[in-house]
């Protein structure tokens, strides 16, 4: 049997293993068309993914470096180019004259340094106009260099220290200037550029030919003010939705039995609570920000008593929060923490709460008058109708829509907010925020004459979108 099998197999092996057949010419054409340029490139990448991955990482790192630091380099270049152009036009350009004048003053009159400065200050005080006095050619110098906001931001990251200037004379001079301790990083950039120009010794001939007298006023040129961001540039609108879990904190006042509050706590269950927010997000300096606007909160709850639902309530709050925050970002992702207060300016209530126990029998009412006749106890909780179950006696509850019976305030509740979250910067104009948040009322939501205090606290997660306009 096995021999027969071997023979059987051998027939196939001998006859077919080395057989050939010419494929139709179309196959080669199809192979060529399949292996297009894109296919070959994709194949090379997938084959050498390690190398391409490394290359991509290097490119990304390089690109990021150029993005982060290139601006500074570009600015430096533009400064130098602009300076050279300016120097070619005017031999008494501010920077050169400053340097030259400083050299003259400090080298020739080592001892007279302070005298010169005092003299300069005196001149400045007299000369209230902001023109510059360069010997016989007074000119108003336009700023030629403004460090970019990114550069300033990067410098702000570093320690707030004076730059180490190579030119000791320049260093000595600026040391004497007033307000150095309050100097801003942009000034450091200025002086470093001055330092570079001075060290290179360029345009020395021009400087020698046109000696000038430096005045403090000139430093307005080298210390230009950076234009502040406009309100619009700093502002964005934050739209948020915050589902949350609400807890009530109740305390009895006067001689109210605590068992009443315990019963309320036990029977009133929050079914759903959420907040819609429309806030103005305003960026301040040093990664700080302010948020304010309107929060609209809705809380739905129902009361189950003796195993059945007796009534459902709805609370609507409108709040104006003012939050102060701090955040930072790294490329596309950032984080933020914020805290603040909110004032509830409008509160509306629908539904009922239980009366205190000892009031139940105080005002016995005929059942037919106060019980809901044929109300379906299975009413949906999220509804504009907040009615009593047919088993719930009317005189045992307080109607929240009745101003006299309602123990809760219609406004004036102050809430504390705490939140921390992640920000995804989707584009220049849009970012998305996910923020776990905590809120609690600092004062009671009940009226002054109510027999108990009640505060609300909530924990939720806010999903928001921030858009610049």
């Amino acid at each position: 049997m096995s021999e027969q099998i071997n023979d059987f197999d051998q027939v196939f092996r001998d006859r077919l293993s080395e057989q050939t057949a010419a494929p139709p010419p179309g196959v080669w054409d199809n192979i060529q068309s399949t292996r297009s340029f894109g296919h070959i490139v994709a194949n090379k990448i997938s084959t050498n993914w390690g190398m391409f991955g490394t290359l991509l990482m290097l490119l990304l790192a390089g690109g990021s470096a150029v993005f982060l630091f290139g601006e500074e380099e570009k600015t430096n270049t533009s400064f130098q180019t602009s300076t050279i152009e300016l120097l070619n036009q005017f031999s008494n350009t501010a920077v050169v004259h400053e340097v030259e004048s400083l050299q003259q003053q400090i080298e020739i009159k080592k001892i007279g340094l302070h005298e010169n400065i005092n003299q300069d200050r005196a001149i400045t005080s007299v000369n209230q106009g902001r023109t510059l006095n360069f010997s016989d050619k007074p000119k108003k110098i336009e700023p030629v260099f403004l460090p970019s906001a990114e550069l300033i931001a990067s410098i702000e990251q570093s320690a707030f220290v004076r730059p180490q200037l190579k030119d000791k004379r320049l260093s000595a001079y600026i040391e004497t200037l007033e307000g150095w301790s309050e100097a801003k990083p942009k000034w450091f950039v200025r002086y470093e550029h001055m330092d570079n120009v001075s060290k290179k010794g360029v345009y020395k001939r021009d400087i020698e030919q046109n000696p000038i007298k430096v005045e403090l006023e000139e430093y307005d040129y080298v210390m230009p003010r950076i234009e502040r961001k406009t309100f619009r540039e700093r502002s964005s609108i934050l739209l948020s939705f915050t589902p949350q879990s609400v807890t009530k904190m109740m305390n009895a006042k006067y001689n109210l039995s605590s068992s009443y509050l315990k019963m309320r706590e036990k029977t009133e269950k929050t079914r759903m609570a959420y907040t819609f927010g429309a806030l103005l997000h305003y960026e301040m300096k040093n990664h700080k920000f302010l948020e304010t606007g309107i929060n609209f909160t809705q809380i739905y709850e129902q009361m189950h008593y003796e195993g059945e639902k007796r009534f459902s309530n709805q609370y609507d709050f409108i709040e104006i929060p003012i939050l102060f925050g701090y955040g930072d970002r790294n490329s596309k992702w950032g984080w933020e923490v914020k805290a603040g207060l909110g004032i509830q300016v409008y509160n509306a209530y629908k539904g009922y709460i239980l009366k205190r126990l000892d009031e139940f029998g105080a005002e016995p009412e005929p059942q037919s008058q106060y019980r809901m006749g044929s109300h379906n106890s299975g009413i949906q909780i999220i509804t504009s109708k907040h009615k009593l179950s047919n088993k719930q006696a009317r005189h045992e509850v307080l109607d929240l829509e009745d101003e006299e019976e309602n123990p809760f305030k219609s406004s004036g509740i102050v809430n504390m907010h705490l939140a921390t979250g992640l920000v995804y910067y989707h584009s220049i104009t849009t970012s998305f925020v996910i923020t776990p948040s905590y809120k609690r009322s600092l004062n009671s939501i009940t009226k002054g004459d109510a027999l108990f205090n009640e505060k609300l606290q909530s924990v939720g997660i806010s999903f928001g979108a921030r858009m610049k306009f």
Partner: protein, 179 residues
């Protein structure tokens, strides 16, 4: 052009070298595909996909083995993938009913290459793959089990059933020719 230079030229994406390599090996590989395919069009698809992979992966060929063997493995694997895409299970239905008959190698030996090839092509996919791999390519049942993600015993039983299936077909043909 020697083999190494040809390979290097193919790595450099020189079309003329690729064509030369294709012309050199495609007839053998096409026949391999024909054994796994049900018809010529399918074999052409297998060959095309196989050679696209050969050119894509040629840079990974190490010169420590047979280049033809390397190409053949790629073409066989590509053909197996094609077979797997077909309804593998459906085509086994009814196979179990074949009676256990003694394998008649004499009847087989009287067939020409075309008939043998046609016989293999008619095999259900599951049998065809195992039969080709074991009988013609020379893989062991363990290797076949690894390649097809089946156990060794499954491979063995598939092979036995393939033989019986062919035997049965030959028997039927014999009866028909007598009638």
């Amino acid at each position: 052009m020697d083999e190494k230079k040809l390979i290097q030229a193919c790595i450099n994406e020189e079309r003329s070298a690729q064509k030369m390599l294709y012309d050199m090996y495609s007839p053998k590989m096409y026949y391999v595909c024909l054994r796994y395919a049900r018809h010529e069009l399918e074999a052409q698809d297998m060959l095309q996909d196989g050679f696209v992979k050969v050119f894509d992966k040629i840079a990974s060929f190490k010169n420590n083995g047979s280049f033809e063997g390397w190409i053949r493995r790629i073409v066989v694997n590509t053909s197996l993938n094609h077979c797997r895409k077909r309804s593998f299970k459906q085509e086994q239905i009814g196979i179990e009913d074949y009676q256990d008959k003694v394998v008649d190698s004499k009847a087989i030996s009287q067939l020409g290459e075309k008939e043998l090839l046609a016989l293999i092509q008619k095999l259900p996919d599951g049998y065809k793959m195992v039969f080709n791999l074991y009988v013609i390519e020379g893989y062991s049942h363990k290797e076949i089990g690894d390649m097809l993600s089946v156990t060794e015993s499954t491979s063995r039983s598939q092979l036995a059933k393939a033989r019986k299936w062919m035997q049965n077909v030959l028997e039927k043909q014999k009866i028909n020719s007598h009638v």
